[in-house]
Symmetry: C2
Subunit: 126 residues, 2 copies
DNA sequence: CTAGGCCTTCACGCCGACGTCAAGGCAAGC
DNA sequence: GCTTGCCTTGACGTCGGCGTGAAGGCCTAG
């Protein structure tokens, strides 16, 4: 499988796949003319990468998951290194959720106050 | 008040204040030598800006709040334009909270599964 | 033989709120 | 007059996950 085919099957671009390779995530053999030749298994790897990126992981965080998949495991998140990264990210996400929850409450409070002020002005006009 | 003093009193840097001015948020008179001379009221403006940035607003979103303060209101969020921005941002934040909540649940699920797999392996070894 | 459709590497663009350096003017104490 | 420390404008660097060319080689079909 060449890079264009893998890109299409994975729902992404050739540029993106080269980027992943550059960062040590995806691997490819080379044909005599220099073209990248991909194994069927790389499709799963790319899907794993995309799912983790969507969950907010950085490329460096993703490496252990890929290694875990390559080691023959059924999923990328069952190895100890992956679990460590999962735990760290979970704490980060929980922290962000707390922060954003506080922001949400603040916004709601300001909106409520603005509406209140408007009502007071309405009463004054009468 | 010169830029350095305002920066210190507002807990930020001179560069940041010039950035705010460049984007139409902060205003200053000029001395004969070209130095920026700030009014006392600008301190409140800068605090408002910082609070809104911390809540995830962009500089363009913040302009109506500053205008509202300058119009003599007790708070920057009581004017109609500010309220519109508040509402929009609240919807955004709620959306992000939903997304991140889903991510958190996914991470928890993967961690739980990883632990389960490890227990299965332990049982096999016995 | 040529057109166009793959592929390669190199390298800049993007977004946003600044940090940081460069080169210089201005004020004030010794 | 010299140093120190404020100020000015201008312009490039940061972070990350790519997008988007440019310039060129390879392969296939008509």
């Amino acid at each position: 499988m060449l890079i264009g085919e893998l890109a299409e099957r994975a729902g992404t671009s050739a540029r993106t796949l080269r980027y992943y390779e550059e960062h040590g995530l995806v691997e490819a053999d080379r044909d005599a003319n220099g073209y990248r030749r991909y194994d069927e298994g790389e499709l799963r790897v790319v899907h794993e990468i995309r799912a983790l990126l969507a969950a907010g992981f950085g490329v460096d965080d993703i490496r252990p998951f890929v290694a875990c998949l390559r080691a023959g495991n059924s999923a990328g998140h069952v190895c100890p290194d992956s679990v460590a990264v999962l735990r760290r990210r979970l704490r980060e996400v929980e922290g962000l959720l707390d922060q954003m929850g506080a922001v949400r409450d603040q916004l709601r409070g300001q909106l409520a106050q603005a509406i209140e002020e408007r009502e007071i002005r309405c009463l004054r006009i009468r």
